[in-house]
Symmetry: C2
Subunit: 235 residues, 2 copies
DNA sequence: GGGCTTTGTGTACAGTCGTTCACAAGTTGT
DNA sequence: ACAACTTGTGAACGACTGTACACAAAGCCC
């Protein structure tokens, strides 16, 4: 187990204020305590994601560690979550929001069937880069410790696949495929992209060259799958 | 973080003997201490795998926890491994052995091209079932905490893919594919199978019905990829 | 037999963990 | 305005953590 070095607090033990709001009305700073409702909750989730993005595995995070990163007292955690699993499930929910946003963007931008794959892969890669921590959490969760989180992420992926199948149906691509076969093909697509996710996450954040390689490889994977689907005959 | 219930030791603190060897020469049991060289090392690795198989994530395992499962005193750990990462890397090495065994069996049994996929998938599923803990460790490691373990597993997969490409070349399947394209297709195959691995691990051990569904789905995935590869034209 | 090396053991220490509790401060409802 | 509720705080607990050290027992080499 990799443990962080013993924590040496520079700040005095006590109340922390996360940001200094310059626009706040002038009040007695020493008595200011309350945040926007739900803000601490978000801060805790953000803190967990930050630690995950820093290389830690979600399964190895502890309550104290998260609250420390969030600059909140450990007891505060229980005001918002029952345990780390609970926090993880909430993260899965937000992951769903991120994925839906990605889907929306893909639907809006991918207009020409001939560039469908290049553009979709590009959108995916961009979303992964701008939500790196979220996607790291997703990749970890697929083989994670909590059955519930695992199932949640799996559900998100299946939903994504079925939406993709709907879109392809509407676009009249692969028209000779039965609904079932189209679902299958889309499931394969989503899995392939999800695996590329781990490729992206394994390279350092700014390595454009390697990123291009992954982008090309993923596109070729998808192309091969689509060719297979195009020549597929059910039975 | 999910913690086990506080450990209550039933045995008195002290030396433990893993198995009572009835065929051992009669000796003073109180002075028997030495094991077969390297045995404790194996016991520790086995203990880690057992915990992983029991649902824990490798990243969340601690030295004390592993030694407790191994029925060995915590300090013994350091006689064999520098830390948990070190143990993990050794597990990756053994994982390679398991994978090579699987490859050997596939090569020996898959003689007819027409049944290639069904038989290969069956062999894979069998190996996963008889080495469940190892494969769970593999699935976890793909998005794990340790970069080194992650890279190790990735390397094993790439080696597997390149061996598969060699076999397909020798079998004169997909003869029109360039070496590069064949490698690509095999990489996609290995990834697809690896993802099915997480499916298998997510169902309960004896669920034959669900297992059959996964087997069928994986076979269909592979068939689609091969059809795609068959109609692939490089460029 | 005597020394050297390897392996397992017991003790110990300082630090971290999850969780409980009583209390303070702010928010909301009336 | 006052009560009820929600949220943040600090101290405290017992258990567990990784790791260091000195020592004992067994195998190995000469």
């Amino acid at each position: 187990m990799i443990r962080a070095a013993p924590h040496v607090s520079i700040l005095p033990a006590g109340r922390y204020t996360r940001v200094i709001d310059l626009h706040a009305p002038i009040t007695d700073m020493t008595t200011q305590k309350r945040r926007r409702p739900g803000e601490t909750r978000e801060i805790l989730m953000e803190a967990a994601l930050t630690l995950v993005g820093r290389g830690r595995h979600f399964a190895s995070l502890g309550i104290r560690e998260v609250t420390r990163q969030a600059e909140v007292v450990p007891t505060s955690f229980y005001r918002h979550f029952r345990n780390m699993d609970d926090l993880g499930l909430t993260l899965v929910d937000e992951l769903g929001v991120v994925l839906r946003g990605m889907m929306r963007e893909a639907r809006a931008n991918v207009l020409h069937a001939d560039k469908l794959m290049d553009e979709s892969v590009a959108i995916f890669v961009n979303h992964v880069q701008s939500n790196r921590n979220f996607f790291t959490f997703m990749a970890q969760g697929l083989a994670g410790e909590s059955q519930a989180i695992q199932q949640g992420i799996r559900n998100e992926m299946q939903f994504f696949a079925s939406e993709l199948a709907n879109d392809l149906r509407n676009l009249r691509l692969l028209p000779h495929l039965s609904d079932e076969d189209l679902d299958m093909a889309c499931e394969l697509v989503v899995r392939t992209v999800a695996f590329s996710l781990t490729d992206i996450l394994s390279i350092s954040a700014g390595d454009e060259e390697e990123l291009g390689r992954i982008r090309r490889q993923t596109t070729r994977f998808l192309r091969m799958i689509f060719i297979g689907a195009d020549h597929w005959q059910s039975g």
